[in-house]
Amino acid sequence: MSSIKIELRQQDIDKIKEIAASFGNREHELINVLHKCQEHFGYLPAEVQEVVAEELKAPVAKVYGVVSFYSFFTMTPKGKHPISICLGTACYVRGAEKVLDEFKKELSIEVGQTTGNGKFSLSSLRCVGACGLAPVVLVGEKTYGRVAPDDVKNILKEYND
C-alpha cells in the first residue's frame, strides 16, 4: 500500500471513530466516511484505512479497493499549495498540456508528486467547468484563467513565502 509509514495518535483514532459513528458505522456509508476522513487528514494513508475498516466491520481490502478506485481519494499528502491543471477537452485544445509541461519543468516533479519541501503538489483534473477561461490552472482555491506557459514562473512566484 502506501510507502509512507505514519503513527496515528489517539486523538486521530478517536476522530475516525467519531466520523464513522456519525454515519451509524454502516458499511454502505463507506464513501461518505472516506470523504470526511480525507477532509480531516488531507489524505488517506493505510493506517487511516485500517481504522475505518475496523469501525465499519468491513475488510481492509474493500476499503483499499474503494480508495484506489476513485481518483478523488489520495494516499499521499498534497503540498501546501496543491496545483491542478485542467486537462478537460476545452483546455487541452487550447494548450493545457504545454502549461502542464512547464509546471513539471519548473517544479521538477511529475503529476501526482509533491515537491521535496512539501510546498507544491501537481495533479491534473478533468474539467472544472470554466471552459471560457481555458486553459485553467487551480492553485489551492484560486483559479487562474487563460494561462500560457510563460505565465507559469509568475504564478509560482506568488507563493514564494
Binding site: 463507506l30 464513501i31 461518505n32 477537452t89 476545452a90 485544445v93 467547468g129
Partner: protein
Amino acid sequence: MHLLVCGGTGCRASESAGIEAKLKSELEKRSLDQSVQVISTGCFGFCEKGPIVKVMPDNTFYTQVTPADAETIVAEHVVKGRRVESLIYTDPSSKEKVEESAKMGFYKKQLRIALRNCGFINPENVDEYIARDGYLALGNIITGMKPQEAIEIMKESGLRGRGGAGFPTGLKWDLTARTEADQKYVVCNADEGDPGAFMDRSILEGDPHSVLEAMAICGYCIGSDKGLIYIRAEYPLAIERLKIALSQAREYGLLGNNIMGTEFSFDIELRYGAGAFVCGEETALIHSMEGLRGEPTLKPPFPSESGYNGKPTNVNNVETLANIPVIYLKGAKWFSSIGTEKSKGTKVFALAGKINNVGLIEVPMGTTLREVIFEIGGGIKDGKKFKSVQTGGPSGGCLTEKHLDTPIDFDNLIAAGSMMGSGGMIVMDEDDCMVSMARYYLEFTVEESCGKCAPCRIGNKRLHELLDHICKGNGKLEDLDRLVNMSNVIKDTSLCGLGQSSPNPVLSTINNFKDEYDAHVTDKKCPAGQCRDLMEYFIIEENCVGCTACARVCPVAAITGERKEPHLINPAICIKCGACMEKCKFDAIIIQ
C-alpha cells in the same frame, strides 16, 4: 432596480464575487442599498465575455466587468441612468454596440427551457423560483392527477434522457411504476464526468429547485418517497446551493411529509461521487451509492426492476429533470412541437474549444451544427479555418465540414458516427491534429476504465498504444486496419456504455480524416504540426541575422553557424525542445 451578477463557476473564477461585494458597498455608500438589489444568479451562459452583470428592468447586459467597474456602474447607470458604454458588448462583425442580450448573435437562436431560470433568479432563494411558477406543476399533479395520467403526459411530450443515451423518460417512469415493491427510489444523476461539459453543474448552481421539483413529481408518478442526488464532490458550489435549496423546500413543506397537505410524502438526500467517469453509467452509479467500487453490472436486470439496495430505481439526469416542471405547466403538445420528429424539445451544449463565444447554450433540436458554431459561437477563433467538431465527449466522434448542415438530434448524430452524449461540443481548427485528438480521448478512457471487463481494460490500452506509436512516427500502414478491427471488437463485447462507445473517437477520425492518418504513417508527417516527434525545426536564412541566441540556448548543440551569418539546425541531433524558437527575436525559426 436589480443588478444581476453571474455567480456561475466561470465568472466566479474571474472575481465575480468581488464585483458583487463592490456593487453592494458602492450602493450602501449612496444609501441606495434599500432600493437597488444586488443578486448573485446562476450562469448566463456567455462565459467567453464573463464576468457578466445584467441590469433590470432596462435589460442592459454588461460584459467583462471587473471589480473596479462596479463603482462606475453604480455612479453612472444606477444614479444617473446612463449606460456605461465601455462595458457594453460590441458585435464583432457589425462593430455595433448591443445592449440587450436578446439581440446578440450568441442569444438570438437560443431557446432556453432547461436553463430558463439560470441567470434570472437568485438560486439561494426559493421565493424567486416560486415567483416564476416554481412548484406549481408539482402542486397541480399531486392534488389533481393520478400518477398514471402524469406518466402519460410525460410519454406524450417525447422527452428523452439528456444524459447521453436518449432513452424515453416517460417509458422509464412507466417501467419503474409498474414494478411492485415496498420501497422505490428516484435518483438524480449529477455525476457529470464528461471533460468539457458543464451543463448539469450550471443548472444545479443556477436553478436547483427545478431539479428538486421534478424529482418529487417523478416520486409521485412511480410511487416513491425517497430521492437521492448523486453529485460529484468536485462541485462544491453546486453542493452548497443544493443544500440551501433542500432546507428551504423542507421549510416551505414542498419536501417532507404530506407535501402541500396531501397524502404524498417525499424527501431527498445527497450522495457524493469521488471522481470516476464510469459512475455516470447508471448501474455503476448505484453501486457507488451503496459504498462500493463504481463498477457496472450487466443489464437486465434494469434499475427499474432492481436498483439501489435491490429496489426499483428510476435514474434521470439533471438536464432531463430540469425540463420536466415546464412540460407539465405548458403541456406535452407545446413541448413536442419543438424539435425534430424523434427528438423533442431543446438540448443544452457546452460550446468550447477554438471558438469565439465559449459558453453554455440551449437550442431547439434540429438546429444545425453550422448555426451553432458560426452564428451562436461566432465562428472560429483568430480567423482560422474550421476543421472538426467533437460531440459526445469521450464516447462521441469528430465530425467535419460535410456534417455542418446536419440538424442536431439524437439519431442524426449517431448516423453521422458521433453521438449526443451529455452535450459537450468542442470545436477544432486547422492547427489540431486529429490523431492526437483520438489519442487524447483514449488516454482518458484508459484512465477511467473500471477494469472489470477485458475488452475495455485491455483493448483500449492497446488502442492507445497504437495511436501513440502513430503520433511518434512509428506507425505502420497495417496499424490502421488493426485500429478499426480492434475498435469494432471493443464496441461489440464491452460490458457497459463506456467500453461500447470508447472507440468512437478513433473510428470517426479514421473515417473522416483518413488522409491525416496516412500522412502520419507513410510520410511520417503531422499536417497540423502538432505531433512533436514528426516535426523538424528550420531556420529561414533570410530572417536569420546570426545573433547566436539560438545556438547558445540549444541544450544539445544542434545549431551551428558563424556570428552575423545565417545559422543551421542539424535535424539528426535536434531533440525538438523548441527552446531556440522561443529565444529567436526575428521569427527566423519555423516548424515543418
